[in-house]
């Protein structure tokens, strides 16, 4: 009996431990979100969102940073989507296992794990200086697209592989060519999951700091052309927080950033759920 009791006791203690681990994780997320919301909500106003900052401490709004952030991530998304999706099509539908495919996968994994600061210095050396694109939205978008490439490639490949084989057989059976099958049957069926992957990757790009600080610059400017410089919301938050002179603006920026990221994530999840329901 004693042995049995100790076994049950150990079990109960361990299970409590796992509960504590999971609750701690949820609590941390809650704490970060609540802290940013509570401190930032008072700052948010139409003026804060839609006007330019002024004065030495950047009082006023953060409109130029919002524009720069959306501009650079939107452009990066446009650059990366066709390349990443077609690359994934190759890996999932065309490639034969071999040295080439192994090299591509290793490169994609490496790209996914490159520290963002290294990507930032690469963008500075290559796009800003070697290609003479200067500190610009375009340089930032190109550097960010390298960061997003492996993420979109992986999610797209998984999405394509999840399309059932018999749909392809049906298409081939009707005499369709490989490209017809891929473009009209496989990609449309995989589209919701591909789009989810693109949204998640874009969400990551929105939160990226070290890459854009060395490719888009830190100048407060509302970019119009892709060759204009700008300062992203993340860079603005970093500078406000480190200088510590205008914390309210930092909290406001952090809250808007958080809301954007949450919106991206929740939209992606919603899309995925809707798709799953439609497929039964």
């Amino acid at each position: 009996m004693a042995r049995r009791d100790s076994k049950d006791l150990a079990n109960r203690v361990a299970l409590t431990g796992f509960w504590i681990a999971a609750l701690t994780t949820v609590f941390i997320l809650g704490a970060v979100i609540v802290y940013v919301f509570v401190n930032g909500i008072g700052e948010i106003s139409l003026e804060f969102i839609f006007t330019k900052p002024h004065g030495v401490n950047a009082e006023g709004g953060i409109w130029p940073m919002i524009v720069a952030t959306l501009y650079v991530t939107g452009l990066a998304m446009l650059i990366v989507t066709p390349i990443a999706v077609l690359a994934a099509v190759y890996l999932a539908e065309y490639a034969v296992q071999g040295q080439l495919v192994r090299t591509i996968r290793f490169a994609a994994d490496t790209l996914a794990s490159v520290p963002s600061i290294v990507m930032g210095l690469f963008g500075l050396a290559f796009f800003v200086e070697a290609l003479k694109l200067e500190f610009s939205v375009l340089s930032g978008a190109l550097a960010l697209s390298f960061l997003m490439l492996p993420i979109v490639m992986r999610t797209t490949e998984e999405a394509i592989r999840a399309v059932p084989k018999y749909i392809r057989w049906g298409s081939y059976g009707l005499g369709a060519t490989k490209w017809q099958t891929v473009s009209r049957i496989v990609l449309p069926s995989a589209a919701p999951r591909i789009i989810t992957g693109i949204i998640l990757a874009t969400g990551r790009a929105v939160g990226e700091t070290a890459v854009v600080i060395f490719t888009m610059g830190t100048m407060i400017y509302t970019p119009v052309l892709p060759t204009d410089p700008g300062r992203s919301m993340t860079v603005h938050l970093y500078q406000m927080a480190m200088e510590g002179i205008n914390l309210p603006a930092a909290f406001g920026t952090a809250l808007l950033l958080m809301v954007m990221i949450l919106a991206f994530n929740l939209f992606a999840r919603w899309l995925l759920r809707r798709n799953r329901r439609m497929q039964g």
């Binding site: 076994k7 970060v32 090299t103 969400g203 929105v206 990221i261």
Partner: protein, 310 residues
């Protein structure tokens, strides 16, 4: 009766139609082949990207190895750019200290959460905890840094009687940041185990804890090691959050609450004003970071191949 079957629209027999078909299929064939090669080119963009990073960061950083010397650069104990001293050992040690501490704090939390998600949580609890873990991965690192700077730093300052900038604060912030990476991959590893081994364990009268500790965790060992290595990669490369809480003093670790610096944070601190050899040294540090992260990916792939061979 012997008349060949004729097409309804053109009135041609199949034999008469055949040459045309062949022509069409040849152009189709060319188009298909061209598309295939286009896709291959897209897939190779990833390879080109890695090569470009290597070439351009390497090109900018190389002089520090050839002019200062590998030994003086990697093992030099002093980072004093104004005195032309570019030893990155204190920064490298700083990166290691920060990473190891973050792993020590974050791994139990992450593996615990993963086990909870895959073995213990009911469907309804899972539906809350899992999205929370995913959202935690989506929070920008600059917000973690901000949170660490304003919330954790004052607490650590009180505990250690210092300003609160230093390894301890960085450990906690980084531990939070690597939890999603490790937890997600560990959960995948646990879920990929065949359900039969759980049932066999329960059938022998094992408790949940015994099943987890003696059957599931050992069986998922390789997957968990992968997860921890990738978490390590994330921690060593993390920049903004560390930069905001670590204090940025390029000296050796000498206390939980005393400022140190890491490779990543020093690059961001110095880059805006660095020139000449100082700037080159920063690119040299980026080469080291790139090689370390590439090495970690190589290790993970090697382990995975071992597992596949098993």
């Amino acid at each position: 009766m012997n008349e060949p079957i004729r097409d309804k629209e053109s009135g041609l027999s199949n034999a008469e139609r055949a040459p045309k078909l062949k022509l069409v299929s040849q152009s189709t064939y060319l188009k298909e082949a061209a598309l295939k090669n286009l896709f291959l080119v897209c897939a190779c963009v990833a390879v080109a990207g890695v090569a470009l990073i290597f070439v351009f960061v390497g090109w900018r950083g190389w002089p520090v190895f050839s002019e200062i010397g590998v030994g003086k650069f990697l093992l030099g104990k002093e980072w004093l750019p104004t005195e032309q001293l570019f030893g990155i050992l204190p920064l490298f040690v700083g990166s290691l200290v920060v990473t190891i501490g973050a792993l020590a704090l974050g791994t139990p939390l992450a593996v615990g959460t993963a086990v909870f998600l895959s073995e213990i949580a009911s469907h309804r609890v899972r539906a809350i905890v899992r999205p929370a873990v995913e959202l935690l991965a989506g929070v920008p690192s600059v917000i973690y840094g901000f949170f660490g700077l304003l919330v954790l730093r004052p607490i650590i300052a009180k505990l250690t009687g210092s300003l609160g900038f230093g390894p301890l604060t960085a450990w906690i912030v980084l531990a939070i940041m690597i939890v999603p990476t490790i937890a997600t991959l560990t959960e995948d590893a646990l879920r990929s185990l065949p359900p039969g081994i759980r049932e066999a364990s329960y059938a022998m009268g094992a408790t949940t804890w015994q099943t987890i500790s003696r059957v599931l965790l050992p069986a998922a060992k390789i997957g968990i090691v992968d997860a921890i290595i990738l978490g390590m990669g994330r921690a060593i490369g993390e920049t903004m959050a560390v930069l905001m809480v670590v204090g940025n003093a390029p000296v050796f670790f000498h206390g939980l609450g005393q400022p140190i610096s890491t490779l990543t944070s020093q690059i961001v601190m110095d880059m805006p004003y660095a020139a000449g050899m100082h700037r080159t040294a920063l690119f040299g540090m980026a080469i080291i970071l790139f090689l370390v992260s590439m090495g970690l990916v190589g290790i993970v792939r090697f382990i995975q191949r071992l597992r596949e061979e098993q």
